[in-house]
């Protein structure tokens, strides 16, 4: 069991470092076990260094940097152990336009092996959807769903 955990951990670590550099356009990221001698019990440290910056503690990262780093970790796990379905509720809300574009690239890549259901208000994210559902409350308090044709939202 310890062997299996360490194997998965190392694979996620590699993916995390690669995806982080992709979406941040550089910098470094790593995952470190608090106590490598005891892999089944110890905690996991996350280390992030955006490009051009000194290594900073996670708390000093900006709102958008934190969201992007967390997205990189989530998608690293998805690459190593894809779950069939993944539901993401407005995870792009703190990102600026350039980072939304990078996020969308990553989303397209992950969606080859995972079905992704994503709630969003950002136009760029909507445009990459294969299927799009609109939710309304024509009658107050009562939700209805309708499907939106690709030609209506893809520019």
């Amino acid at each position: 069991c310890a062997k299996q955990f360490t194997q998965t951990f190392e694979a996620i670590r590699d993916e995390f470092s690669e995806i982080f550099q992709d979406v941040f356009g550089g910098g470094t990221a790593d995952l470190v076990l608090d106590d490598p001698g005891n892999p089944l019990e110890c905690g996991v440290e996350i280390v992030c260094q955006p490009p051009g910056k000194k290594l900073a503690s996670l708390t000093l990262l900006s709102g958008g940097e934190k969201a992007l780093a967390a997205i990189a970790l989530l998608f690293a796990i998805m690459r190593v152990k894809p779950s069939p379905v993944c539901v993401l509720d407005e995870i792009d809300s703190a990102l600026d336009e350039a980072n939304v574009a990078r996020f969308v690239e990553l989303l397209r890549d992950v969606s080859r092996s995972v079905q992704v259901i994503i709630v969003t208000h950002r136009k760029r994210t909507m445009e990459c959807a294969d299927t799009l559902f609109g939710v309304t409350m024509e009658e107050s308090g009562v939700s209805k769903v309708f499907s939106i044709r690709a030609s209506d939202y893809r520019l």
């Binding site: 989530l74 069939p84 509720d89 259901i117 299927t131 009658e139 308090g141």
Partner: protein
């Protein structure tokens, strides 16, 4: 495996029956504030076995039943069904299509069904265990919680890696 269909009846703001036919790849859900988008994400978590009313933004499990609006009365139960295309036998249970249904009544009584056959919550949790779906999973990220994994304490982050191994 992918989710082929999601059916809601009486779940939170979904008073009438609503069916979503889904495709593999990226499925977008859009709309103004307060119309019920996150309620769809809650419906998925709930049908996959979520037991914490608080994680579903309520205080007791009956809070997921349509409570009524200014023009409609509340309902007596909520029901959500997930229909998975399992033709790749990802879930090793010998069916090409797997339907998971969960119901809760005002009384608090709950029902679980697997391909329309009554079962226990335990059966659904076992079905999903190790797939990344279900309760402890990393596969549902709630609104505003994306950076929770970064702010958690190191020992709390473990469960993410345990679930994946």
């Amino acid at each position: 495996m992918y989710l082929k269909k999601l059916s809601l009846y009486g779940f939170k703001s979904f008073a009438g029956r609503v069916d979503l036919d889904l495709t593999p790849g990226i499925v977008g859900v859009v709309g103004p504030n307060g119309v019920g988008k996150s309620n769809i994400s809650d419906a998925l978590r709930w049908a996959m076995g979520e037991q914490s009313a608080r994680l579903l933004r309520g205080s007791k499990m009956q809070d997921v039943i349509f409570a009524g609006s200014l023009s409609r009365r509340g309902l007596g139960y909520a029901e959500v069904s997930l229909v998975f295309d399992n033709s790749d036998q990802f879930l090793n249970i010998g069916f090409d299509e797997v339907t998971v249904t969960r119901k809760v009544y005002r009384s608090g009584d709950a029902e679980y069904l697997l391909n329309s056959v009554p079962c226990r919550l335990r059966d659904i949790v076992d079905l999903f265990s190790g797939t990344g779906l279900g309760r402890e999973a990393y596969s549902v990220v709630e609104q505003g919680k994306i950076d929770a994994v970064l702010s958690a304490r190191p020992e709390d982050r473990r469960s993410l890696f345990d679930e994946a191994s």
